[in-house]
């Protein structure tokens, strides 16, 4: 069995001293997997990702990256260990052109060659290639989403944390984004994503977690979880095709 690259145990975290948002979340992401986290709004999904990337300091429990604890490290250090992250909101540098956004994205691994990675991203999202000098702040919602994804992919991360990557995307780009996630995964990248497009996300995942009120509510193999009627009704808006 492939190793467990990212593990949290009884993770407790929050934003203000008295209020904990995560009340003991334990997840396991094994190498090469796609893992999806779903749950109601405000369940703590984004907070979980923020804790993993170092934006929120954990108050209890542990986070292990390839067996080594990373809680307490600054995000820039965690990113250099091969984690990539696409935030849910404010995920592009609004005052900078698309191309500079991508250039900044390459920061953790400049050795990859800027030109090569840029070309790869423009091939993936031609819309970005057409607009490379447009400042990101004037992009449409979907265009921003593409840019945010591309920025995170620039340094070829080993593990990618995605916070609602398909929100705001037109259907053809939703498809593209999911295909892209699958492709990136096939190339060896481990993926942990949060999605409200939950049925489709779970269907392509090796494993899924349902988070509610800052705790693990359900877990299981992705497709199975999506088919679980209780889960579907409570969290996925009923059964989908």
């Amino acid at each position: 069995m492939s190793g467990e690259v990212l593990v949290t145990r009884d993770l407790v975290a929050g934003y203000v001293p008295q209020v904990d948002i995560l009340n003991g979340v334990s997840i396991v992401v094994a190498e090469g997997e796609i893992v999806t986290v779903v749950g109601p709004n405000g369940a703590g999904k984004s907070t979980l990702l923020k804790a993993l990337i170092g934006l929120v300091a954990p108050k209890g429990g542990s986070i292990l990256l390839a067996g080594r604890p990373i809680s307490g490290l600054p995000p820039s250090a965690i990113v250099r260990q091969g984690l990539g992250y696409v935030p849910q909101r404010e995920n592009v540098f609004e005052s900078m052109p698309i191309e500079e956004n991508l250039e900044i994205g390459l920061k953790p691994r400049p050795g990859l060659g800027l030109r090569r990675r840029l070309d790869a991203m423009y091939a993936l999202f031609p819309r970005l290639g057409e607009r490379r000098r447009q400042v990101a702040g004037s992009l449409s919602g979907g265009e921003r989403q593409m840019l945010a994804m591309a920025r995170a992919l620039m340094p070829e991360p080993k593990i990618l944390l995605l916070d609602e990557p398909t929100a705001g995307l037109a259907p053809r780009f939703v498809d593209l984004m999911f295909e892209q996630v699958a492709a990136v995964n096939r190339s060896g990248v481990t993926i942990l994503m949060v999605e409200q497009n939950a049925a489709r996300a779970l269907a392509m995942s090796h494993r899924g977690y349902v988070l509610d009120l800052g705790r693990n509510a359900h877990e299981g193999a992705g497709p199975a979880l999506a088919r679980d009627p209780k889960v579907a009704d409570l969290y996925l808006g009923g059964l989908h095709g």
Binding site: F93, E100, E103, I104, R127, E130
Partner: protein, 336 residues
């Protein structure tokens, strides 16, 4: 997506394409300046106008140079550094200190710039970093900046006294170009200002650290998760700001001839005006903003008694903001 490529071409041909004749604001500004210059020449003759123009460029040069460091801090760290004027003063007094320790003037100046840069970084470590971690807002930072400004200015005054000092340079020598007289040191200050503006502007635009600084300015959290070492960015920004402040302070002190620890605070408002006029965080903007203020003030002396000069600068500032709400180099933001 070949379709949208075609659409892109079609856009350019559209009559509504936001007016191909529309000039960018900097060009427009230059045009206005040229027209005003011509008008003044017609009214007051070439000699007087040219002399006022040169004077205006020099005065504006000091302001612009002083404003660059301020603009960096404001733009990148979002901090209204009320103590910036006092960093200028620190530069001048460090020069005195190193001169007193026996270093030749030019070496003392260089050391002073380095010392001021170190001082600026120190303020980050002692004052700003803890405040940022405590989650202080803009106005809280502003209060601390007032406090820090007091500590710096009066710290200097405590040791050096408030009497007038000089750096002992030759402030009366001047260059004569046709009918125009220009103080030698004034010329040095102006040229230095232009060079520094270009260097800082290019560095921000093209170097890696410059891009990181802009990314940091734009979105701190995103910069962190993009792997930027934000501590380093902050330190570099402070060091640059301190260095530039000292450079500006020293040049000003040298060229104007005499000063006391108040000179920074008296310049501060004009520095802010230059910063805002040019577009916050923009090195070219800061200098151009300074030059515009300087020019308008000196030109105004042709029309009005010089006693109105400071008021003219402020009036122009308001006027320009109303005409160009984004500043000379600023950009409009999308509202939705």
């Amino acid at each position: 997506m070949a379709g949208s490529n075609e659409a892109g071409k079609a856009d350019a041909l559209q009559p509504h394409g936001a007016g191909t004749l529309r000039l960018s604001r900097p060009v427009l500004l230059l045009l206005v300046i040229v027209v005003l210059f011509a008008a003044l020449v017609a009214l007051y003759g070439f000699d007087a106008t040219a002399q006022a123009t040169v004077n205006g460029l020099v005065a504006g040069g000091y302001l612009g140079l002083g404003a660059i460091g301020l603009s960096l801090i404001l733009g990148i760290l979002k901090l209204v550094n009320f103590a910036h004027g006092d960093l200028l003063v620190a530069g001048a007094y460090f020069t005195i200190l190193f001169g007193w320790l026996g270093l030749p003037l030019v070496v003392a100046m260089l050391f002073a710039m380095i010392a001021t840069a170190a001082l600026a970084v120190l303020t980050e470590k002692v004052v700003w970093q803890p405040l940022r971690q405590a989650g202080a807002g803009t106005l809280q930072l502003f209060l601390s900046a007032i406090g820090l400004a007091l500590v710096l200015r009066f710290g200097i005054q405590f040791f050096a006294g408030s009497q007038v000092r000089t750096l002992g340079a030759d402030i009366v020598s001047s260059i004569t170009i046709g009918p125009i007289h220009l103080g030698t040191l004034q010329a040095v200050a102006l040229v230095t200002g232009l060079v520094v503006m270009a260097v800082v502007g290019l560095a921000l635009r093209f170097t890696g650290i410059g891009k990181e600084m802009r990314a940091f300015a734009d979105n701190r959290a995103l910069a962190e998760v993009s792997g930027i070492n934000t501590r380093r960015i902050i330190d570099v920004t402070w060091a640059a700001s301190g260095f530039l402040a000292a450079l500006a302070g020293i040049l000003y002190a040298v060229a104007i001839g005499s000063f006391n620890p108040n000179f920074g605070v008296t310049l501060l408002l004009s520095l802010f005006a230059a910063t805002v006029l040019g577009g916050i965080g923009n090195a070219y903007g800061a200098l151009i903003g300074g030059l515009v203020i300087g020019l308008s003030q000196e030109w105004s002396t042709l029309l009005l008694n010089a006693r109105w000069k400071p008021a003219v600068g402020f009036a122009l500032l308001i006027l320009m903001l109303l005409l160009m709400p984004q500043g000379i180099f600023g950009k409009a933001r999308r509202r939705s």
